[in-house]
Symmetry: C2
C-alpha cells in the first residue's frame, strides 16, 4: 500500500504513512478553518483585517511607531511588494502614513497614525479573546508546549538551508534573525501608552 510505481519509468514516490496522512489532513483542515475564522471575526468586529493588524502590531511595538518598509517585510516574512501594496492601501485609509528616510534617499518609513493606533487598540482585545477561546481553551499545557515545539521544528526546517525562500531571506543575504528571543524587543508586549497588543498575535 505504501510503495507504488510512478508515472514514467520506475519512479517510486514516498507517500505518507497512514498516521501521517491523518495528521496532515487534520492539520490542513484546522489551519484553513482557523484562518478563515480569524479573518472573518477580525473584519466583522473591527475596521481592520488580519493583515492590517499584523502591520499595526509591528508599528505599535516600536517606541517611535515607525519602521523601514523592508524591515517590516522581514519581520512579517512578507514579500516586499506585498508590503508595498498593503501599506499603500492602509495609507489610503489613514491607518499609517509614509515618510521619507533622510539618511537613505531610497528608503521610506511606515509611520503609525493616531487613527491606526486606535484601530488596533479597538481590535486587539476581541482578537485575543477569540484566539484563546478557539485555540488555547481547547488545549492542555502539554499540548500547548507540543504545539510550540512542533511549530518551531517545522519553521526551522523552512527557514534554514537551501530551503529558505527568497521571502524568508528578505532579499538580504544573512539568515534573518527569526525569533527575537526574550528581550529582543524590550518591554515586549507593552507598547507605548500601556497599549498591549500582544506583539505577533498574528502573522
Amino acid at each position: 500500500m505504501m510503495c507504488q510505481l510512478f508515472p514514467y519509468a520506475e519512479r517510486v514516490t514516498r507517500w505518507l504513512e497512514p498516521e501521517q496522512q491523518r495528521a496532515w489532513r487534520a492539520y490542513v483542515r484546522m489551519q484553513g478553518e482557523l484562518n478563515a475564522h480569524l479573518n472573518r471575526q477580525m473584519s466583522v468586529d473591527s475596521e481592520i483585517s488580519m493583515a492590517d493588524f499584523a502591520v499595526l502590531v509591528q508599528l505599535t511595538d516600536r517606541p517611535d511607531g515607525r519602521v523601514r518598509v523592508l524591515e517590516l517585510a522581514r519581520y512579517l516574512h512578507w514579500e516586499k511588494s506585498r508590503i508595498s501594496h498593503h501599506v499603500a492601501r492602509m495609507e489610503k485609509r489613514g491607518l499609517v502614513r509614509r515618510e521619507n528616510c533622510s539618511s537613505d534617499g531610497r528608503g521610506s518609513f511606515v509611520v503609525l497614525t493616531d487613527q491606526g493606533r486606535s484601530a488596533i487598540e479597538a481590535a486587539a482585545p476581541s482578537h485575543a479573546e477569540i484566539v484563546r477561546a478557539l485555540v488555547f481553551d481547547q488545549l492542555s499545557d502539554t499540548e500547548v508546549e507540543a504545539l510550540r515545539e512542533i511549530s518551531e521544528k517545522i519553521f526551522t526546517r523552512l527557514t534554514t538551508g537551501e530551503c529558505a525562500s527568497v521571502i524568508a531571506r528578505g532579499d538580504a543575504d544573512d539568515p534573518v534573525e527569526v525569533m527575537p528571543e526574550e528581550g529582543g524587543c524590550p518591554e515586549a508586549g507593552a507598547g507605548r501608552d500601556g497599549v498591549d497588543v500582544q506583539v505577533g498575535l498574528l502573522e
Copy 2:
C-alpha cells in the same frame, strides 16, 4: 491578572499567558511560511496551484470523476462563489469541465478531464515528497500524533456550536460530516487507474 469585568467601562482583556503567546507566535509563523512554501513549490514544479490540486484530489477520489458543485464546496470548506470562480478558471485551462445535472435543473457537475487527471498525477508525487520532507521528517511519532490531536480539537471547536461558520455549514443546516472516517470513501486513497493522490493532501 486573570479575572476581569466586561465591556467598556472597566473592561480588562484576557490576554494570553506567556507560554500560550510563545506557542501562538510559533504556530502562526510556521503556518504562514509553510503555506507560502507549499504554494510556491506547487506552482513552480507543476502547472497547477494548491487550490487546483485540492479540487482535483476530490475529483480523482470519485469513481466517476464528477461531483456536484456544492458538494465540492462542502468537502473543501470553501464558499460556493469561490468554487464557482475557481472552477470557471480551471475549466478555461481544460482541467475540468462542467456538465448539467439531469435530475436537478439547477445543479451542475464538475467533471475531471484527461488533462486534469494528468496534471494531478504529475503534481502529486513531488507534493507528497515536500510535505514529508518539511513536516514529517522533522517530527517524532508522538509529535505526529500530538499534531493530529491538537488539530482535531481546534477543528472541532471551530465547527460545532454557535461558532460554526456559514462556510462550514455550506449553506445547509446539518453539521456537515467532517471527517469521512475510515471507509468513508471506499478504496480511500486509490483513485481510478491506480492513481494514488492521497486524498486530502491539501486544503
